[in-house]
């Protein structure tokens, strides 16, 4: 019998808001390990300051390596694009930091709608965190 580790709805769903201070202290590799470990436990993370595009790509790569077909099918990740730096910011190499991002297990979250002003994500009924 297949066991889905996320089918424990009686234990509720955990949303963790992660401060930028917490992530700032970690290297890119450490950030990705932390995020994937939490998401694999069935937690939904809201990162106050999201990942850079290169980190996001690495997260996708790491996620693919971690997929276990009966227990972890991947991540749902949504956030806003980094705003384009102004001319002055480019000259002084001041780049805007990544913006708020939500990351959770793909069998728990589903993006319903996303545009420049709103991201709507629904929790798939009957799922819950460990």
């Amino acid at each position: 019998m297949e066991v889905n580790s996320l089918m424990k709805k009686e234990e509720g769903i955990s949303f963790n808001l992660i401060s930028h201070n917490k992530l700032d202290k970690l290297s890119s590799d450490e950030k990705l390990k932390f995020i994937l470990a939490e998401v694999k436990k069935g937690k939904i993370l809201v990162l106050e300051q999201g990942l850079t595009p290169i980190e996001q790509t690495s997260l996708i790569e790491c996620t693919m390596k971690e997929i276990e077909q009966d227990t972890f099918i991947g991540v749902e990740m949504e956030g806003y694009e980094q705003e384009n730096p102004t001319f002055i910011q480019k000259i002084f190499k001041i780049y805007k930091k990544p913006r708020i991002t939500m990351i959770g297990p793909a069998d728990l979250l589903k993006t319903v709608h996303k545009d420049n002003n709103m991201i709507q994500i629904k929790i798939i009924p009957g799922r819950g965190a460990k």
Binding site: T52, P53, I54, Q56, T57, I60, E61, T63, M64, K65, I67, Q69, I73, G74, V75, E76, M77, E78, G79, E81, Q82, N84, A106, D107, T111, H113, K114, D115, N116
Partner: protein, 218 residues
């Protein structure tokens, strides 16, 4: 030749006028028509095809590479190595292949496993290309995290990108939505299936991917 050997003259001209050879990756989420477009380009300029296409996601699970595809645009040309990459996704669920596409459990699991490896391979190819033809489905919402992530990655690497708004032969397509979603990049509406607007695509590819770049151009 007198003053210059042929090779060094070519290098000098290239330095002044831009590149004449580039490795171009065809990227995008699964099922947006990457291989259909790769087949279109390769067939139009070499008579060959790149790979098989299917309505089932993750049909291309290994990158395919066609070297020396010479694309002409009036008096100029660009010779490209075209790399058709597997679709990039943040999740792969074998049950989708069973429930939606009627595969057996064994087939579905094998396809899912190969699909995850394909995503990794596609990402690794980003290290080794000179420009990207990013294919999006113009009938779908363009603000997917995969599109945003790929574009952000290419911008961070300073790689030139051309967005192909594919499937405009379908009634529900809206290339204008795609253009307004990513105004910082050139967007060309096409139908890889019918070949609609492919001449303009080739013209734009030659112009856009021939430009001199400060970084990464060889």
């Amino acid at each position: 030749m007198g003053l210059f050997k042929k090779g060094s003259l070519s290098a000098i001209l290239q330095k002044i006028f831009g590149k004449k050879h580039a490795k171009i990756g065809i990227y995008g989420p699964p099922n947006v028509g990457k291989t259909t477009l790769a087949n279109r380009i390769v067939r139009d300029w070499t008579g060959d095809i790149m790979g098989s296409v299917s309505d089932i996601p993750h049909e291309t699970r290994r990158a395919k590479w066609k070297k020396d595809v010479k694309v002409e645009n009036g008096g100029s040309h660009l010779t490209m190595d075209i790399v058709d990459t597997p679709g990039i996704a943040t999740k792969v669920d074998f049950k989708e292949f069973m429930n939606v596409y009627g595969m057996s459990k064994e087939e579905a699991k094998t396809r899912a496993k190969e699909a995850t490896e394909g995503v990794i391979e596609a990402i690794k190819w980003l290290e080794d290309i000179d420009g990207v033809l990013l294919v999006m489905d113009s009938t779908q919402d363009p603000f997917t995290q995969v599109n945003v992530t790929i574009l952000g990655n290419l911008e961070a690497r300073n790689l030139p990108v051309l967005i192909a708004a594919n499937k405009i032969d379908l009634e529900e397509s809206s290339p204008a939505t795609l253009k307004s979603a990513f105004p910082q990049h050139p967007v060309i509406p096409i139908s890889a299936l019918t070949g609609y607007n492919s001449e303009n695509l080739y013209s734009l590819m030659v112009k856009h991917f021939s430009k001199k770049r400060k970084k990464r151009w060889r």
